[in-house]
């Protein structure tokens, strides 16, 4: 059994007990425990079930590479699935539940998959479940989905908050082990700003567990002093619990800080995402130990040798009482020695190497541990925990020589540098045959914007596997990074660690070396996804030879550990099966993040009300207080209608329309884009942007303009007012303001960069109010001020002046067909002006109206609306707007495109009015059918509805549409099948159904 010892445990505080539960069972741990160490201390070997076969599983690792020990953590709004027990710090009241089983962890019906494993090899689902066809959706897939997945989905809205930090720095050091810390100091000594990020809560990485001496200090003392020294340096920032999750183009680095995962509910954000621009990145991310692929290597109690050592030294937990160690390298001897010294029985060290190891082996032998060289684990027996090991010759097929009862197995297949960060942004790897590992290829580092290397790998991440090599490498790496970041190096003394030579590793990708097929089918590579040696061999046999094919066919490395634990084992097995060299097979692509990061952290602060900026006009609160039914328009919100007591939205719209036609209405048009275009070349510039001639417009005059893109399609419209010789004010649609401003700038900056023009977006500087209706002038005249008579301010003129006490700019323009003044005042005056107008208009029955009434009013007049009559496929000529296209200009954006054969064809669909024969309202977006079907069997069409409304003015439905040769077919009746099953008949009519001669607006 696993248990807490009375000694060891450098990270735990035995005076601080913490209660927690696992599957409802009360347990106790200490401050400083991880959930995994606490579970082991409570002899909870069985912690979860695997993905595919629902095999019983225990803790196998002690860090981010853990594939098995994933739990549902927390409750309600703080619930989180798939939380890795090895990287979860224990806190009082922690509630963890095991995953992927039914009904219980101990007894899981899904384990039947395990008994059927032989029938469920890699990719079995590609070969079956095809008949009967409907069974995939209704039977097979629901079953597969239910048995797949891991943790439970969260149900409630997240109670926590998240935030982003934005940082610029010279050097980021990823990893606060000895390599990272030494490199950080070496870099910082040059004066560079250094940011050191460590994923764990503690500094020093593995070194304090592994022992040794640096600069004549034991490693833990060395780390403590160095951290203190770095903390004292003004140009160094240290952050623990902050993992570098990804390296992106141009030195963009993401740090993922778990601020309060260990103190849930604490004030402040749960996670903080550091968005960092660094000149250089030091990759000091350490290395990850590889398991050995022997049969039964997934039985709870089989653990990485380094993890078993970690649990003992860091947390005072012995993973078993009688341990067998299996290895192919010297490092695992450290585990055996440590266990032995702690009083744990080490029954045997099985060293696959015929000649065994070096100095460490001698030390183990001195301690009285039996060492069998050339021996291997043939098979581990036991279901929910280890019972015994069958020992065999490593160079054989697995015939058992001896069976030894034990309750834990420590395994080590060697180490793989954590090269993920190095690889995220294009850094390449090289295969080191002696050390049997992929390590960073210094000559092919990831490059920054200048094409020069932006990262330096160091320490174990760089393949330096002894303390002596690590110290020297890290010191050099720190200096190299500082220099690359542009800093001058100062004299500094190198860091030196005591030598501790090790003998060479012998690569073991499968144990024993010629394991028979039955054993290979029980030798796990990817634990979580249940990929075994036999699966990879099957993939290779079936032609899935590319490492990417193998990965995808077997799901090797696709689990939540993303292959950290054993991808190298898998691709070595693949290489072996193919008879190819490991580097020729290569690795799969390393993708960010290094370990999974929360969606909450990615999203940051922007959620709920502040998900996107809410743009409000100065009159926003007034609208809200007067029944506004809001409609989102881009980031703005505009009143769709103002609903008054008792009426519904539709009735409100009708009332508002009638009131404008008969009396006077107010519309908040502040959201319309107001772009100032100024400079000696402003007229020439606008002549290119608009289809109209703008350079000839006289100051004081307005002109309705159309803008097309290079493909000739209409993208925006609006009124242009010439302010003076060099200055134009261009109105755009609400949705178009930012887009058109960007469009202008794009052309100015990339094509006409030598033209003397500048633009400014003044949209939010002004509140703009349309005063519309036959009584509009009366309302304004009541306020006094400038002369607004027809003679003083004719239609399509504008003028600055006073209205009442307000300084205003008045445009005589109309989008409703009524007498209309659009009046701009400084934004700060908007609300006061609006309220003044409402007050003055009271005797005339003034009412505000919303966007829907605006639409109905313009549709009655046959005015087009960008986004309704246009959709990116419509040219002005389709809309009868040929009059707005200047024939005198040599060029404008879209001119050449509009001359193409199909654009100039008379067969295009063109704008008409549509009048239903029964007065009903045509459905939105309905298509008019023509005779027959096309070559693909689709019904032929001849037009479509673009705008359709009920017109309270006419008391019936009105619509506009685009119809094939429409203007030539006035009076013809065409049919529109609706999705409601009805067919609507409509007559082709003039789009202008109200005041065709414009007498009302021109008074």
């Amino acid at each position: 059994m696993s248990a807490r010892l009375a000694t060891y445990g450098r990270l735990i505080d035995r005076t601080s007990k913490l209660d927690f539960t696992f599957d409802g069972k009360p347990m106790m741990g200490f401050e400083g425990d991880t959930l995994a160490s606490a579970l082991l201390a409570n002899d909870q070997m069985l912690v979860g079930r695997s993905f595919k076969y629902h095999r019983p599983r225990g803790v196998v690792a002690s860090g981010a590479e853990e594939p098995n020990a994933l739990v549902n953590l927390g409750e309600g709004a703080r619930f989180e699935p798939n939380q890795r027990a090895t990287t979860t710090e224990l806190f009082g009241g922690l509630a963890a539940r095991s995953q992927n089983h039914w009904p219980t962890l101990e007894f899981d019906v899904g384990q039947v998959n395990s008994y059927l494993a032989r029938f469920l090899p890699a990719g079995f689902y590609y070969k079956m479940f095809m008949y009967p066809r409907s069974f995939w959706k209704h039977v097979y897939e629901p079953f597969i989905r239910q048995s797949a997945g891991l943790g439970q989905p969260p149900k409630e809205r997240d109670a926590d908050t998240y935030e982003h930090f934005h940082v610029h720095t010279d050097v980021v050091v990823a990893g606060g082990g000895v390599a990272g810390l030494i490199a950080a100091k070496a870099a910082a000594q040059s004066g560079a700003r250094v940011l050191v990020l460590e994923q764990n809560a503690h500094w020093g990485g593995r070194a304090p567990v592994d022992g040794g001496r640096i600069d004549d200090w034991p490693t833990d003392g060395f780390v403590e002093r160095l951290v203190k020294e770095l903390e004292g340096m003004a140009n160094v920032t240290l952050r623990a619990r902050c993992m570098v999750s990804g390296l992106y183009d141009h030195g963009y680095v993401l740090g993922y800080e778990r601020v309060s995962d260990h103190v849930p509910g604490a004030e402040g954000p749960r996670h903080r995402l550091w968005r960092i621009r660094a000149k250089q990145v030091i990759v000091a991310t350490g290395a990850i130990e590889r398991p050995l692929a022997f049969a039964g290597n997934d039985v709870p109690g089989v653990m990485l040798a380094s993890a078993m050592r970690d649990y003992l030294v860091n947390w005072g937990v012995a993973a078993g009482e009688r341990v067998i160690v299996a290895t192919n390298n010297d490092d695992a001897y450290r585990t055996a020695i440590t266990l032995k010294k702690a009083g744990v029985e080490v029954l045997r060290i099985l060293d696959a190497r015929e000649t065994g190891g070096g100095a460490l082996m001698e030390e183990a032998r001195r301690l009285g541990i039996r060492i069998d060289c050339g021996r291997a684990v043939g098979k581990v027996t036991g279901g929910k925990r280890v019972k015994a090991v069958q020992i065999c010759a490593h160079q054989g097929a697995g015939g058992a020589l001896e069976e030894v009862a034990c309750d834990a197995v420590a395994m080590s297949g060697g180490w793989s540098p954590a090269v993920h960060l190095w690889s995220h942004c294009g850094g390449k790897l090289t295969w080191d045959d002696t050390a049997a590992m992929f390590r960073p290829d210094e000559s092919r580092a990831p490059t920054g914007a200048d094409g020069k290397p932006m990262a330096v790998a160091t320490g174990a991440a760089n393949g330096a596997m002894t303390l002596e090599a690590i110290a020297a490498d890290a010191f050099a790496a720190g200096r190299k990074a500082a220099q690359a970041a542009g800093f001058k190096l100062k004299r500094a003394s190198a860091v030196k660690a005591d030598p501790a030579p090790e003998s060479a590793i012998e690569p073991v990708w499968m144990m024993p070396a010629r394991a028979r097929v039955g054993l290979r089918a029980k030798a796990w590579l990817d634990y979580q996804n249940d990929v075994k040696v036999s699966d990879v061999q099957l993939a290779a046999r079936e032609g899935y030879e590319s490492v990417e094919h193998t990965k995808r066919y077997t799901t090797l490395g696709m689990a939540t550990d993303q292959g950290k634990l054993s991808n190298i084992n898998g691709l070595a097995v693949l290489a072996d099966t193919l008879g190819a060299a490991i580097p020729a097979v290569g690795t799969t692509t390393f993708r960010p993040p290094y370990t999974p990061i929360s969606m909450g952290a990615i999203g940051g602060e922007a959620r709920g009300e502040v998900f996107q900026p809410l743009r409000r006009t100065p009159m926003y609160d007034w609208h809200a207080a007067h029944g506004a039914d809001w409609e989102p328009v881009g980031q703005w919100r505009r009143p769709f209608a103002y609903v008054q007591g008792g009426e519904d939205v539709h009735q409100a719209v009708n009332r508002e329309v009638k009131n404008v036609r008969q009396g006077v209405g107010l519309l908040d048009v502040s959201t319309l884009g107001k772009l100032l275009v100024k400079g000696p070349d402003a007229g020439r510039f606008l002549d290119m942007l608009y289809t109209n001639m703008m350079s000839t417009l006289k100051p004081g005059k307005c002109r309705y303009g159309l803008m097309c893109n290079e493909n000739g399609f209409l993208i925006d419209d609006g009124v242009v007012a010439r302010i003076d010789e060099e200055t134009f004010l261009c109105h755009t649609t609400t949705g178009g303001a930012d887009r058109i401003h960007a469009h202008m700038e794009e052309w100015l900056q990339t094509e006409w960069w030598d033209w003397k023009v500048y633009t400014a977006n003044l949209t939010e500087q002004f509140a703009q109010i349309a005063v519309v209706g036959p009584k509009a002038r009366q309302v304004l005249e009541k306020l006094g001020g400038m002369d607004l008579s027809k003679e003083a301010l004719p239609f399509m003129d504008w003028k600055d002046g006073a209205i009442g006490n307000f300084q205003a700019r008045v445009f005589r323009i109309s989008f409703s067909g009524e007498l209309s003044f659009e009046i701009a005042v400084p934004a700060s005056q908007g609300l006061a002006f609006w309220e003044t107008l409402m007050e003055a208009g009271r005797e005339f029955g003034i009412m505000p109206y919303g966007t829907e009434a605006l639409h109905v009013l313009r549709a009655e007049k046959g005015f087009i609306m960008i986004g309704d009559e246009t959709d990116g496929t419509v040219i002005p000529q389709d809309l009868g707007l040929g009059w707005a296209i200047s024939k005198k200009k040599d060029d404008y954006l879209g001119k050449r495109a509009q001359e193409r054969s199909f654009m100039a064809s008379p067969d295009r669909w063109k704008l008409v009015g549509l009048e239903t024969t029964d007065g009903s309202v045509l459905p939105d977006g309905a298509y008019a059918v023509a005779e027959g079907s096309n070559a693909n069997g689709q019904r032929n069409t001849q037009g479509r509805v673009t705008s359709t409304y009920y017109s309270p003015t006419l008391g019936r439905g009105i619509a506009m549409g685009l119809v094939h040769r429409g203007p030539d077919r006035m009076g013809e009746v065409i049919e529109f099948p609706g999705t409601d099953g009805k067919t609507y008949s409509a007559k082709i009519v003039d789009p202008v159904v109200y005041d065709k001669d414009g007498e009302k607006q021109n008074v």
Binding site: R145, L150, P153, A521, G603, A606, D924, Q938, T941
Partner: protein, 414 residues
């Protein structure tokens, strides 16, 4: 080709699966083929497959620079739908969707097409009108879609948050027979079937030049030697412009990186595919349990198949608004694929200025769902010189201004 079935699996289980044959052969290229297809992605393999199946043309080589299915076929978010607005698009995507329905049986390879339904949320009045228009168009195109109410949306997707403070859900365009499929399996299934017909799939073979004579294609130069052919199909997505340049013509294509990501796997919580175009993001749950999330394209042209951060930030934010529960899930992996975008965001299936040379490209962000339809049409075009499904997607449309623009209906996401 030995057939796959539950019985075959059981039989093989008894001998520890040592008797399975290769899914596809790995031959050295011959000196000459009737047809060479460049690009062993879904579209290239499907083209080859239907050349054989529909036209009996089996002296075909499919040449692949890397590993088959390794481009966008293996990088997309596996959505299959045909609720397009324009007739030409709806025709080819609906053809593809209907072929997906029987693909597993046709190829004897389970591609796991799952008609779980695709929903596109309407979150502005403008979108409501747009999707109602699409529903009307689909009605006449023979594509079964309907505009559904917020209540029905909630019924189909219990984890959705309808009353977001910024963009409440006003309804959705619902295609019940859209869905997802296992993307790799589509490429593998076609490859196996092509190989069984005697076609050669040649991986790790990069085309380095196109040989021509008097304006007629003669063959290709490759890293595995010269290969002659009577007809050449260029089906290489993001690198189409590069191949076209070798063949001596230009394509109106820009290449951009499209971003995607998956969460860690969880138990089933969402059966349908949901796309939210106003806020820019879409999500479905894979059979493995991962939430598969698609975002937008990077704002600059490039060929790097890498994940970048800025777009996924926007995407994840949008999806947290739509599905608040995902806030406490974790992103497992992010990646990028290179999409080939045309001026009207619709594909090119066309003859080219080079006689005997055809292109199939420009699928942009929407290629996976089109694979069988695209292969069907391209095969017909290459075999007979014309295909009604491909007719409107010719290169000449750019010169004539005959755009097939879906942007109005599709927003950003496909």
């Amino acid at each position: 080709m030995k057939r796959y079935s539950v019985f075959a699996v059981a039989r093989e289980a008894l001998r520890h699966h040592t008797g399975w044959e290769r899914a596809w052969r790995s031959p050295a290229p011959k000196r000459r083929y009737d047809v060479v297809i460049v690009g062993a992605g879904g579209h290239g393999l499907a083209t080859a497959y239907y050349l054989g199946k529909n036209f009996g043309i089996t002296n075909v080589a499919v040449i692949e620079k890397g590993w088959l299915g390794g481009g966008n076929t293996g990088r997309n978010t596996t959505i299959i739908r045909s609720n397009y607005l324009q007739d030409a698009s709806a025709a080819i995507y609906e053809k593809a969707r209907s072929l997906y329905e029987t693909m597993s049986q046709d190829l004897n390879y389970n591609v796991m097409f799952s008609p779980r339904g695709v929903m596109m949320l309407a979150q502005t009045q403008h979108e409501v009108r747009g999707y109602k228009r699409t529903a009307h168009a689909n009605l006449l195109q023979g594509v079964a879609t309907e505009f559904i109410s917020p209540a029905r949306v909630k019924e189909l997707v219990p984890i959705i948050h309808l009353e977001g403070p910024r963009y409440p859900v006003l309804g959705a365009l619902w295609q019940p027979r859209g869905g997802t499929a296992r993307h790799d399996a589509v490429a593998w299934g076609y490859a196996r079937a092509c190989s069984a017909m005697g076609m050669d799939i040649i991986q790790q073979c990069e085309v380095t030049g196109v040989r021509t004579e008097n304006g007629q294609v003669r063959g290709v130069e490759t890293t595995k030697g010269a290969i002659d052919c009577a007809k050449l199909g260029i089906v290489v997505a993001g690198h189409s412009s590069v191949l076209a340049q070798m063949a001596g013509f230009r394509l109106p294509i820009e290449s951009l990186a499209l971003q995607a990501l998956v969460s860690e796997p969880i138990k089933p919580c969402m059966d349908v595919v949901v796309m939210a175009n106003t806020v820019h993001g879409y999500m479905s749950q894979s059979d493995k349990g991962e939430m598969v999330i698609g975002g937008g394209t990077d704002g600059f042209n490039n060929y790097t198949q890498r994940g970048s951060f800025h777009h996924i930030e926007e995407t994840v934010r949008a999806l947290i608004e739509t599905f608040p529960m995902i806030s406490r899930l974790k992103m497992l992996r992010q990646w990028g694929g290179i999409v080939d975008m045309t001026g009207d965001r619709s594909p090119i299936l066309s003859k080219t200025p080079l006689e005997g040379c055809f292109v199939n490209c420009g699928w942009g962000t929407g290629g996976f769902k089109a694979i069988p339809g695209s292969g069907w049409a391209m095969a017909e075009l290459m075999a007979t010189g014309a295909s009604p499904l491909a007719a409107e997607f010719s290169l000449s449309r750019f010169r004539e201004g005959r755009f097939i623009d879906e942007s109005v209906a599709a927003g950003v996401a496909h």
